[in-house]
Amino acid sequence: MNCLWCHDDIMPDITWLNFWNPFYEPGKICTTCKEGFPIIVDHVCPMCSRPSKNEEVCGDCQRWSNSEAFQGALERNVSVFSYTPIMKDMMAKWKYRGDYELIHMFSEDVRKKFKEAFGKSKATLVPIPLSSSREKERGFNQAKAIAMLLKRPIESVLTRVQDEKQSKKTRQERMEAENPFQLVKEVKGEIILIDDIYTTGMTLHWAAELLKKGGSTKIQSFTLIRS
């Protein structure tokens, strides 16, 4: 087997435990590469997973909770990795070049983090959608790819109307744009939104606001990266 990132051979660790386990899946990334990807460990803002020394709620999150429209919409966000140059490379390859397989590098870490953060919750997973034209061009939806790693029921209840690249906009421009989502189906109960990256949090707050209006009780989010 070869590492998904550096293409070198991987020697899987065979122990007595996994030797007897027919469902055992060896990791798809070598240990050297794995160390390069920065997992968020501790000292983060409890609301958005941004690194914060004394674990206080960060300024941005306070602004969200003070804003009228989005108050209490998104309860909290949990992210797995922080956004370093190697992660930027990974995103460029995965999302923009379209190398779908790369997401399997993170399956173990993503599952572990999800279990830690939402272990007992019976929430429905809702991936953030792409517009149909972009999804066709890319061939996949990156949020759904992450959701599929978690092996839980997925509900695609949102659609995206307008579609301009978020990553090309400044913070100000993102804040002033209109909500790009529409609700197809109302979901009661708990929801965990899934996305690839939490930057300003605008996308997730839009989606959360819409779902809240649709009658969901508790909305949290889970993203691969917190930038």
Binding site: M1, N2, H7, K93, R97, G98, D99, Y100, E101, G139, F140, M148
Partner: protein
């Protein structure tokens, strides 16, 4: 652009961009309606990007069949397949077709006397130059085994002149982008009237019907049966010899009847074997353009290297070598096996170091070339393709396995390239001689002897 009377034959505009190529939709600079028209005229064919055979999937563009480089995307309707090997050049997949030109070929100019170079070839160069011309005319294969600093570029001019006047489409491919950047201005100067394009990852040029393409081997993925003359420079360099898909690309880019010229100073085993068995006609250029023999490396031992470096000191022998060069105002290159060692020695000697991922790599090398800095510490990236007029060379820990025969011969070939200063000092500091070191000296001596014999 190389189009004669586009009004006379409008398909030439399209042929200029598409002839001999195999492209993804977003690489074609035409509108949807234009492509529709070309498809209807059967000038353009839609083909599948990924072939499905009993032995698994195969990428049509790069020939990749390795299972771990075939990717899968789950979709509602099932699985889609894509190629991970050539994904840096746009994704080839089962949900997008590739486009292949099937219309008339682009007619190229037939310039009568395109060569503006007025230098003289040496006897050895002349022999090789004639052989190259013969191979290009007869559309055959040829290995040109020429020592470092033999003047390989100049030996091509004669053959290229004839090929251009025949209206041949020519490609010079090399595994290294540095080499492309170094060669292009030299060819543009020698053939000022010919349309020449340079292709490498991130290059500003585009091939819009150029007669002469100078490119990295990776860029050849986008060509199919395009070239009458294919020259592969530094054919033994990484990653060409190690990557089967690049060999496939070079083969695919040639026309069925075309000539193939390998240029190298250090052919790998496989090519040497073909040459020795007579499958690959070979011409030797054993002497440098200035006629002086290649400097033969010496093997000073340096067993204290590891210990000294652990104490954060330079071994005395290396220290003395550097001091001597400084005293005599000699400039030098110091080759080291790893980036970590480059960094450490750079700290100890106060000289700059470069490696492959260095963002300032091009500037540092340029500084050294201009003589603004007296020495440079480097990993094997500067082993080939770069010329510094008058320098000495040392290799630290030459027995390390990154220094194979080819690398060591190439490194030795950096020294003494100037006619005014044809003797350079080449020292391989080692902690025990390796086969590669001995092999390198054998290869250099063989070439020097061959040169002597020919002169007699």
């Amino acid at each position: 652009m190389n189009i004669k009377n586009p009004t006379e034959n409008p398909s030439n505009v399209y042929a200029a961009h598409l002839s001999g190529k195999i492209l993804l939709r977003n690489e074609i600079p035409f509108t949807e309606t234009e492509i529709e028209m070309l498809l209807n005229q059967k000038f353009l064919n839609e083909i599948r990007g990924i072939e499905d055979s009993n032995f698994g999937y195969r990428c049509v563009r790069c020939g990749n069949q390795k299972r771990y480089l075939i990717g899968r995307i789950p979709t509602k309707t099932g699985k889609q397949i894509y190629c991970r090997n050539c994904i840096e050049m746009g994704r080839v997949s089962t949900f997008e077709p590739l486009y292949k030109w099937a219309g008339p070929e682009l007619p190229l100019d037939r310039l009568k006397n395109p060569c503006a170079w007025e230098g003289q070839l040496t006897v050895h160069q002349k022999i090789a130059s004639d052989k190259i011309n013969e191979a290009m005319t007869n559309r055959t294969k040829l290995l040109t085994w020429a020592v470092c600093g033999a003047g390989k570029t100049e030996m091509l001019f004669r053959g290229l002149t004839d090929a251009i006047s025949r209206g041949d489409r020519i490609c010079l491919a090399t595994p290294r982008a540095d080499v492309v950047r170094e060669l292009v201005p030299r060819f543009r100067k020698a053939f000022p009237e010919v349309s020449i394009t340079a292709l490498y990852g991130g290059s500003p040029d585009k091939d819009d019907g150029c007669q002469f393409v100078i490119s990295t081997t990776h860029q050849l993925f986008r060509y199919e049966r395009a070239f009458d003359v294919m020259i592969i420079d530094e054919a033994d360099a990484f990653p060409f010899y190690a990557d089967a898909s690049l060999v496939y690309a070079a083969k695919k880019a040639r026309k069925e009847s075309s000539s193939l010229i390998f240029l190298t100073a250090t052919p790998r085993k496989w090519i040497k074997l073909q040459s020795a068995c007579g499958f690959l006609p070979t011409v030797f250029v054993p002497s440098r353009y200035h006629g002086h023999p290649l400097p033969v490396p010496t093997f000073p031992s340096c067993y204290s290297l590891k210990k000294s470096l652990q104490k954060d000191k330079l071994p005395p022998k290396i220290n003395d070598w550097i001091a001597e060069k400084e005293r005599n105002n000699r400039r030098f290159l110091l080759f080291v096996p790893s980036i970590e060692m480059a960094e450490q020695i750079s700290k100890l000697t106060k000289y700059e170091y470069v490696h492959a991922d260095d963002p300032d790599r091009i500037e540092k090398v340029e500084c050294f070339r201009k003589g603004e800095i007296t020495a440079l510490i480097t990993t094997t990236i500067l082993e080939r393709g770069v010329t510094f007029p008058s320098i000495d060379v040392a290799v630290i820990d030459a027995g390390h396995n990154v220094f194979d025969v080819a690398a060591l011969v190439q490194i030795a070939g950096r020294a003494g390239r100037n006619a005014k200063d044809p003797y350079g000092d080449v020292s391989f500091f080692h902690q025990g001689k390796s086969d590669a070191m001995v092999g390198a000296v054998k290869m250099i001596e063989m070439m020097n002897n061959l040169a002597k014999e020919r002169v007699k």
